[in-house]
């Protein structure tokens, strides 16, 4: 090695060391937690497609159209990122899946495991023609469009096939996705376990004067050390009243509440956990509101039984908060949003614990349980754990926070 090369290597090594030293020890000593993770099998995906076909018949749909995203991944195992180009799959009620892939990505089509072959499109206009032809070949007249398909793609297909009727595919896609299999619950469990470990380490790094950005970076570093990736939201003091934080800069001081709300993904399955904890000693007011929040979270957990409506779970949490002197309804100070959302391959997915949702709770459904109490100008408290529904009631993936100064049970 000549001297010049040696110098470059030494400099790179030093820079690496400096990076490593900025990460607090509690986070550096974390190790990946992905041992033994079982990905979803092709057999399970085939069973999902069969269920989708049944739901299509029940909902008088002849086919559904999906672009890359969580639903395409759910049914086919293909992520299929094609940038702005059109890549889509048609799942018909009868017959073979029909893939349309751009020339540059034609390999993606052949890598898919649950179907053979793909139509290769020269450009987007060609893709729309091919999609229209696939739909006609499968005898489709009423077509479900997956909820996140871009308007441009829908518009392109309808111009090529104006006689078809295009409606929402939600009864089929959400109809399948809302009920989780044991394999899915196991992946969600792992994502939750990793998130708790990251939070545990990140909370040891709290110190006077740190910014919320630093704490968020520590959480991200912890996720990385645990073998995964995830976004990070950390909020301090009075800004904890904003459910999604504020752009205002925040430095931690004695007596601040600290709220973190985050999650990771394991084989695509998401976690979403919030902890609100006191830095220093809580005031009587902070403790009282925190305890009320915990009672509201407990009430939703108890209410989430098989056969109960989703809206009744929201009402159970909201009643506790209203009786505690907040609200009513979405009025602040109080609970300005729904009590929870579905969770799976998307951090937020169907179906929601919200007023007006009369969907009955069934075994295999997964929800967040997170009734915020927001008091603008003072602070906010949110405790969020996710639950899965069993025949004998709702079970949390994680132990709830027992007290304002104890984030972990």
């Amino acid at each position: 090695m000549n001297r010049r090369v040696f110098m470059a290597v030494a400099a790179a090594g030093a820079a690496k060391l400096a990076d490593a030293q900025e990460v607090p020890e509690a986070i550096r000593k974390l190790r990946p937690m992905l041992d033994g993770v079982q990905p979803i099998t092709d057999d399970e995906r085939r069973a999902r497609i069969e269920k989708a076909r049944r739901l299509m018949r029940e909902n008088k749909l002849d086919a559904i159209v999906l672009e890359p995203g969580s639903s395409m991944f759910y049914f086919t195992g293909t992520r299929g990122n094609a940038g702005d180009r059109v890549l889509a799959v048609v799942i018909p009620a009868k017959g073979e899946l029909g893939w349309v892939v751009p020339m540059a990505q034609r390999k993606v089509g052949y890598e898919i495991r649950v179907a053979t072959g793909a139509h290769v499109a020269k450009d987007d206009d060609d893709a729309f023609k091919l999609l229209a032809r696939v739909l006609k070949d499968r005898g489709a007249t009423r077509v479900g469009i997956e909820e996140r398909v871009r308007f441009a793609v829908y518009d392109g297909i309808r111009k090529e096939a104006p006689s078809l009727e295009f409606v929402s595919a939600d009864p089929v896609t959400a109809g399948c996705r809302v009920i989780k299999s044991p394999a899915e619950i196991a992946l969600l469990q792992r994502a939750n376990d990793i998130t708790i470990e990251a939070y545990r380490a990140a909370f040891t790094t709290l110190r006077e004067g740190m910014t919320n950005g630093e704490l968020a970076n520590n959480i991200s570093a912890a996720f990385k050390a645990l073998g995964t990736t995830g976004g990070a939201m950390a909020i301090f003091g009075k800004y904890t009243a904003f459910p999604h934080g504020s752009i205002a800069p925040q430095k931690l001081s004695e007596g601040d509440l600290v709220l973190i709300d985050d999650g990771v993904s394991v084989e695509g399955y998401q976690s979403d956990i919030t902890r609100t904890v006191i830095f220093g000693k809580p005031t009587a007011r902070q403790r009282q509101v925190w305890d009320l929040e915990r009672q509201a979270q407990d009430a939703a957990l108890r209410a989430a039984n098989v056969g109960a409506t989703c809206e009744s779970v929201d009402a159970a949490a909201r009643d506790v908060i209203t009786k505690g002197g907040f609200g009513p309804g979405y009025k602040v100070p109080g609970l300005p949003h729904r009590t929870g959302h579905g969770i799976g391959l998307d951090g937020h997915e169907w179906t929601n614990l919200v007023r007006g949702n009369k969907t009955e709770i069934q075994p295999g459904m997964c929800f967040s349980d997170e009734p915020t109490i927001a008091i603008y100008g003072e602070f906010g408290v949110r405790l969020e754990d996710c639950m899965y529904i069993t025949g004998s009631g709702a079970k949390m993936f994680t132990r709830q926070s027992p007290a304002i100064d104890q984030p972990f049970g």
């Binding site: 469009i145 997956e146 909820e147 996140r148 398909v149 871009r150 308007f151 441009a152 829908y154 518009d155 409606v167 929402s168 939600d170 976004g231 939201m233 904003f242 459910p243 999604h244 934080g245 504020s246 752009i247 205002a248 709300d261 985050d262 999650g263 979403d272 919030t274 309804g329 979405y330 300005p336 949003h337 729904r338 959302h341 951090g347 937020h348 997915e349 929601n352 919200v354 007023r355 007006g356 949702n357 997170e370 915020t372 927001a374 603008y376 949110r382």
Partner: protein, 139 residues
């Protein structure tokens, strides 16, 4: 818009919204929509509990219409269109708008004809290639 025969444009968060208003917002399942009529003031339709955070980004005096968690954002969009005199004709949709947003709007305002807004936006000089994703809400 007038050149392209559009009486309004409907945008989700993204490059066009950012270019025209400076507002970046993460797309989530909770619709956050900007209605720009050919005549009259634009109108914002956004989730009620995000109003405080949104007001940090949107200029004061703007027409902001909130929807609560059990309400339909698309009723608000349809009302905004009506308030600006858009009762018939063509409305330009953001090409990147998700199907559920378009589907929600067309159910509330079924007499309008929805077409792509891209040509009108491009000829107005809107740069549709800029990345403009804000942070996605976690709640």
């Amino acid at each position: 818009m007038k050149e392209f025969g559009l009486s309004a444009i409907v945008l989700e968060p993204g490059p066009a919204m950012f270019y025209l208003t400076g507002v970046r917002w993460g797309k989530s399942e909770r619709s956050f929509i900007l209605v720009i009529p050919a005549k009259g003031e634009p109108a914002w339709v956004l989730p009620g509990f995000e109003e405080m955070r949104a007001r940090e980004l949107i200029h004061s005096g703007a027409d902001i219409r909130v929807w609560q968690e059990d309400e339909s954002p698309y009723e608000r969009v349809a009302q905004a269109l009506k308030d600006r005199g858009v009762a018939a004709g063509r409305v330009g949709m953001d090409d990147a708008a998700r199907f559920f947003v378009f589907d929600g709007v067309r159910k509330e305002a079924p007499k309008l004809d929805y077409v792509s807004a891209t040509q009108a936006l491009k000829s107005a000089g809107v740069d549709l290639t800029q990345p403009a994703m804000g942070r996605r809400g976690k709640q």
